[in-house]
Subunit: 916 residues, 2 copies
């Protein structure tokens, strides 16, 4: 039995894209739901593959084609190759996966001398007819006969030049007739044969050409580039579709529309049209199209049909549609429809409204929105209408747009910020001592460092815009300038940065403020109903905790206590602790820090009440709290210079070239104070040298500090437990969790637990209460993964620190990798993703899976979560659901994304498939 | 039925240490093999536990004791408490595990007024008798009655003072009699009762005292400290043994002996004795003992008995014995025997000879030697007789002792070395550009850096002695001095360093040269017969390869090509390559390196023919080949200063304070040359800054370089394959293996393999031959472990780089860890071992096991080895055997150790048990 190679639009299976291609299936589906689609048929991809294998069309194919053309003739009452009412068709490629522009299309097929004359008679518009004719000859010549475009273009340009005409629209019917004649000559010369007058010959050659284009270089390269395998798309179908014309007179029109307003999501007619025009005219911008509601006056009946079309589309597709139509002589044809692309606000509103209308269910309402899209709703965005050009670009380190005056020092940022100015802090790179500048600034811009640099991490935590590592910008703190080639940006100049793209603009670019709408709240509440993963927040301050709670966080998954250390009233105490020469001096400094930390924790616990708050004990190496070696050397040099000036009694700030380097408290002080300052800086310098590490990432940090300096961890544990006691006294329900970083062996946990047990007893006695809290560990070293079964003997929870775990698994230092070789790895396909953004399921993920399984074997109810940055990334969240984590924790602005992604993960869990 | 609590030495089971204690079992065994052991019996540990539980002796125990005493009386023809021929006994503790000095012993028990008188009559030596008596009273008083030693000592000292006598030996019998009387008074005063005259009362009290000592504080602390659990030793036995005396006259003697010469291993009588002396006199050194062969003249019959004793001991124990004996009135008693401790040479020789004699089999010959012991045989050792005191200590970074003149610069080392001087190179830390100094020096001493510092790693690879990180030493290159407190060591001063202990000495300390004896060769050939693991070498030069082959390496497991880059004729080319601004310039520099590398490889392949040579492609980050930032800044400053001096025309080297910093080729050159040098240094400085990495361990290195700069890897691959082609042309059988470092994904391997395939084709064509070689990967990132199944698609072998893998698994930077916190971790028991020395079976090992299993699933015949430093460590080798690796690779001097350890691993595989 011979295979059926052709399906009419009435018969083809609208779901079978593999057989009919995406476009063909879509045309069949539209036809079969009763839309007025121009009649036509699809030649299957099977025919294409047969053709390619045998290098000839399958037997009987052209007979099938003729039969279907006859059917179309019947439907349209036109004749293919007939003079009076000629049927013209387009021949279009279309494979299962869209490959825009990669394969060929021929329009107006069916024109020859005879049908051309008929068309002129029929339309009374020779210009229209010749224009169609010359286009057909060139396209057919190129696609079906392989003639170089240039052969045609040179004649076309010659006629234009001869006629003194610049734009194609200036050509009249006579010009176009001449061009058509010349084109026919080109074909004859190039092929040695006249242009085929037989319309079936035209059609056969075109079908072959489309089939051939599947193996054309462009298409093959495209498939390789986008990893399109034969399983995804194999061969192209050919769609033969009746041509309809919106430019045959004033009862003709063409238009595009959305079934709802894609800007706002409002449930209303939306779109534009042009009378007596071709589809491409709407887009080309030569004539200004009219808003669709004017059609209601101009062609009331057709407007009614259009409303009907729109309703049919939504009822059938259950999705906002972006559609194209043409009105030919009073008849409305629907040419194409596809899911409409909308902004985040519109997606959310339409989701909620379509559920209310009963059009879709909640599951679909959730699934139709890409979680990442919600990012738009949580940060200021640059106005998309702005046409300003960027002057430089760095890494998109913390999303959102921000404008402000340039400042080059944290102190200045603080001064101007207090005075109510919006400022952007520009630094080569930032250090913990710049932290007050972050609080004061709208955004941060650095010329060095990657997405994990201090600036980037702190800015993300604070939800401030940050562009990092803009290497084309030279930051000169001494002269207070940022230099980009010839361009000098000075202190006080206004700039705008976009942390979502990394772009930097001069002046103030308008921005759109974020909004957390009621619709979004509704949608996310549906997400929470579905999701199994809870979403916690990585936050370090009560303000951010309240924000996270307002975004729907049900806990704090990571509070980094060192962030508290960095605030400007604490840092000097921390530095005293580090400089302490012995345990007693260290304890003295810690005693001063203790009440501050306790109060911080109390406020934090209250802000997140009644949800759990996971506090990580001190993690970073001590030297991170001290200024850099070079900076200290510079400062000491500047102080010495200043002292000499004072001694010479000629000091003014201006005479001192490098005064910008003077730490601000010393600007106006006497020699004695300066001497003390120098002594302190020198002490710091020697400590910095002592603490120097070759690979600080793998150095003296985390629980290793807790082993070397038990008093630091003991102070922190006491702060947490006393804060908890104070909350309990006030009958605030709270759930503190103490988390130990960088653990490699259960022995470390046993040791820290012994501190906890002792302090718990003391606090319970002191306050006369019983404390309830959990004790657990970060899992961020590989050894913790291999020892998980043992760790779970002591740990009541695990929290994956996937930033560090990824670094250890890949042996990639994130900063170095992102600056030096990771871009090459991603571009050349050595690695599909940046593993610091997208959880590496095959490597890191495998370790996580092993950890969860062995941890739960020891302690079945152990709570397991993730607090690395990937915890806010939808694909990673899907993996976390797959390996049955209890929660993900991410920065506050990513909470809505994570909530939606957690719902997706559950809804799509059966489709999840990972090849280890 | 009542339990039997006592066994005579004739009846006790010599294997049942748990019941009889180690000493008791040993006495039983010696007795039963026919040695003349003084008669006696053992009271079991069960009796001890009963006593401790019930706080009284088990019913009937003393009756059993009396029965056994009667038996001993019969054997010795003495009477316990009898006057004429009194039986004296010792009461000694002894548990299953030896706890030296932790529990109590009582001697001469059975003395009272009556037996004392009898003893005086019997010996005619009242001094001997009173001395025994006063000792017994004090020991019994202290142990059985709990009287403070001091109570006795004060009387003893008073008598001595009164008599004007300094040493105890000066006391005569009258003094000792007085002392005995005073001691009896002490006992009466302290206990309110007279000293017990009833010898059975003495015995009962003593047995209880020994039992009690099991729960004494000292013993309990000792068991806790050394983790002795009740499974290992539970309770102490009590040994009641007839006293024999070597000091009862000239027919008495006492001595110690080894069954073979423990210094050389020679099969000869060995030991010393003293006539009419107590055992302790031999050790005390008051009288000089005589060599045992003199006994042949002095007491020929007894000498014959002693030879017989020795033969019996070896025949029975099948091990060299260290034994003690006493001759009492012409009768030889054997008091104790244990396995003899010997140096490595003696152990090896005795092993081989005992097999030849048929005394032991090869298995025992191998197992009786601790592999680590062989280290002695491969490096010069400090003469153990030297009494010199160290002036400082650093880390033992590369074993062996070395003496030489101090030099502070590699150039000086080279000059003096060429002149035939032995030198020690002293540096704060070393850099690749010091490499020619390593070649010239006998040893290396640094004041900074750990066991994995450049100095340590390079020295180990070269087999040179190295002491690293001797922080008490201040190295001042400018003044060419090493300063230790007040001590100034100047250039040219002679010092000795011991890389096995880290000690540093002034002057020349005698050393013992290593020897690779025929016996060692024989022993190791037996090891090879047994072992399943092959042993390869980590070497980088033909000389070292020949050395490794002579030590029995059957391949090179790791040739680090960058070591070749460091030689002084190559480094400038490497630096040119790094400084190259573009690919062309880089290729030009590489073209110059190419023939050098090719010739190196050819020589290396030939040196190891016919065994495999695994060449690792370039691994370290580029900045490792450049001097440090500070050094370059100093050099530029010095050059500028020098230029100013030249301009002022007053230059002599002496006027230039910092001339020591001038790179030597510039010492006498003109301004133009200096300017060029400055320009080059500045270029290097800017490159160093560009290449700066936060965590170089995890940075742009290994295959990441091969991805960024394919031309480097291509040059290396071509060098390897052309070298192979040249060998094949000369009919040398060779087996090159190309190894890719730092791999994280199979994509990297596929890429490098594509370079290899292309170059292979070209070389095969050029030389007209077929190449045979293997292509494989280091497994040194955790991700490589998780992706092993995939990597094995491309890799024909895996080689575990456990140095890096350990760093990644622990998130420990080795240098930082060993300097900052690892000592604390080891001391406090957080980690049992340093995982960089002993493979961490529970973490790293688990990853390795997983890797081997999944790699072999993909490619069953994949060859898997280890080339990290742990590969030369016996315990780690045992683990490698356990997980079925094919080979271990280690530095040349550890090859004999590894061969023996590999045999042990096989022989003991059934006893291997690891708890993950």
């Amino acid at each position: 039995m011979t295979e059926k190679y052709i399906y009419s639009f009435q018969k083809g299976d609208g779901k079978n894209k593999m057989l009919l291609g995406g476009k063909g299936a879509n045309l069949c589906e539209m036809t079969q739901i009763g839309l007025n689609v121009p009649p036509g048929f699809v030649i299957t991809t099977t025919a294409c593959l047969d053709y390619i294998n045998n290098q000839r069309l399958p037997d009987g194919l052209m007979d099938e084609v003729k039969a279907h053309i006859t059917e179309v003739e019947t439907q349209t009452e036109k004749q293919f190759g007939g003079r009076d009412n000629p049927l013209l068709v387009s021949v279009r490629s279309g494979s299962a996966i869209s490959m825009p522009g990669m394969m060929d299309t021929i329009l107006n097929l069916g024109l020859n001398k005879q049908t051309l004359a008929g068309l002129i008679d029929q339309t009374g518009d020779p210009r229209f007819a010749y224009d169609a004719y010359r286009r057909f000859i060139q396209l057919f010549g190129k696609v079906a006969l392989g003639i170089d475009d240039e052969k045609f273009d040179q004649h076309f340009d010659a006629i234009k030049k001869q006629a003194g005409i610049k734009a194609d629209v200036g050509l009249d019917s006579e010009h176009l007739r001449q061009i058509s004649e010349l084109f026919l000559q080109v074909v004859h010369e190039e092929t040695g044969k006249p242009f085929p007058e037989d319309v079936y010959e035209q059609l056969e050659l075109s079908i072959k050409a489309v089939f051939n284009s599947w193996m054309g270089k462009r298409a093959v390269d495209y498939r390789r580039e986008f990893h399109i395998t034969p399983k995804m798309a194999n061969g192209t179908a050919v769609n033969v579709v009746t041509m309809v014309f919106g430019n045959m007179g004033n009862d003709c029109a063409t238009g595009v529309g959305f079934t709802r307003n894609p800007g706002t999501g409002a449930n209303e007619m939306y779109g534009e049209y042009l009378v007596n025009a071709q589809g491409e005219d709407v887009v080309a911008g030569i004539r200004t199209p009219k808003p669709v509601h004017e059609l209601a006056n101009e062609m009331p009946d057709l407007y009614r049909q259009l409303v009907e079309l729109r309703n049919k589309l939504e009822t059938h597709y259950k999705e906002v549609q972006d559609y194209e139509y043409t009105i030919e002589r009073g008849i409305l044809y629907c040419l194409q429809t596809r899911n409409g692309k909308m902004n985040a606000a519109a997606m959310v509103r339409t989701s909620v409204e379509m559920v209310a209308e009963g059009l879709i269910d909640k599951k679909r309402a959730l699934l139709r929105i890409n979680p990442e899209l919600l990012e738009q709703l949580l940060h200021p965005q640059l106005d998309p209408n702005s046409t300003a050009e960027a002057v430089a670009q760095g890494l998109p380190a913390s999303p959102g747009a921000a404008c402000g005056k340039c400042v080059f020092e944290a102190d200045t940022a603080e001064q101007l910020g207090r005075a109510g100015e919006a400022v952007i802090l520009l630094r080569e790179e930032t250090k913990p001592e710049d932290i007050h500048g972050f609080f004061a600034a709208q955004g941060i811009l650095t010329s060095r460092g990657g997405k994990t640099s201090h600036a980037a991490v702190v800015a993300r935590g604070m939800g401030k815009a940050c562009v990092a590592g803009a290497e084309d910008i030279k930051i000169d703190v001494r002269s207070r300038q940022a230099i980009i080639g010839e361009l000098h940006i000075r202190e006080g100049d206004m700039i705008t940065i976009d942390g979502s793209t990394g772009l930097i603009f001069l002046g103030r670019i308008p921005t759109i403020e974020p909004s957390f709408s009621d619709e979004l709240k509704t949608l996310l509440s549906w997400a929470d109903e579905v999701a199994e993963l809870e979403v916690h927040a990585n936050v370090d301050t009560p303000e951010r905790a309240r924000l996270a709670a307002s975004y729907g966080a049900t806990g704090i998954g990571l509070c980094r206590t060192e962030r508290m250390f960095n605030a400007s009233d604490r840092l000097p105490l921390v530095i005293d602790m580090i400089l302490a020469g012995n345990k007693e001096a260290r304890q003295e400094a810690l005693a001063k820090l203790f009440p501050i930390q306790r109060d911080d924790f109390q406020e934090l616990f209250e802000a997140m009440s009644p949800y759990p708050v996971t506090v990580r004990l001190l993690d970073p190496p001590m030297h991170e709290f001290l200024p850099g070696e070079h900076q200290l050397e510079d400062e000491i040099r500047a102080l010495n210079q200043y002292k000499i000036m004072i001694q010479g009694q000629q000091v003014t700030l201006d005479t001192l070239g490098s005064h910008a380097l003077l730490p601000s408290p010393f600007n106006h002080l006497n020699e004695e104070v300066i001497n003390k300052a120098i002594a302190k800086k020198e002490l710091m310098l020697s400590k910095v040298k002592e603490l120097y590490e070759v690979n600080p990432m793998l150095g003296h940090r985390g629980v290793r500090l807790g082993m070397s300096y038990p008093e630091i961890y003991q102070m922190q544990i006491r702060s947490i437990l006393e804060a908890a006691a104070l909350c309990i006294k006030q009958r605030k329900p709270i759930l503190p969790e103490i988390m130990v970083p960088q653990v490699i062996t259960v022995q470390e946990l046993i040791k820290v637990k012994s501190y906890v047990d002792q302090i718990q007893k003391e606090v319970e006695k002191q306050y006369g209460i019983d404390l309830e809290f959990k004790f657990g560990t970060m899992v961020e070293t590989v050894r913790a993964c291999t020892r998980a079964a043992k760790l779970a003997d002591v740990a009541e929870f695990f929290s994956f620190g996937t930033n560090d775990l990824t670094q250890a698994t890949f042996s990639f230092s994130r900063e170095d990798a992102e600056n030096k070789f990771l871009p090459l790895y991603n571009e050349s396909g050595l690695l599909a993703d940046n593993p610091f953004e997208v959880l590496d399921a095959k490597g890191v993920g495998q370790l996580m899976k092993m950890t969860v399984e062995s941890g739960r074997q020891t302690r079945p109810d152990i709570k397991v979560g993730i607090c690395g940055e990937q915890g806010g990334h939808p694909e990673s969240i899907r993996f976390c659901h797959h390996i049955k984590l209890d929660y993900v924790s991410c920065s506050a602005p990513r909470i809505p994304i994570a909530r939606l992604a957690a719902a997706h993960a559950k809804l799509l869990e059966n489709e999840y498939n990972i090849e280890y």
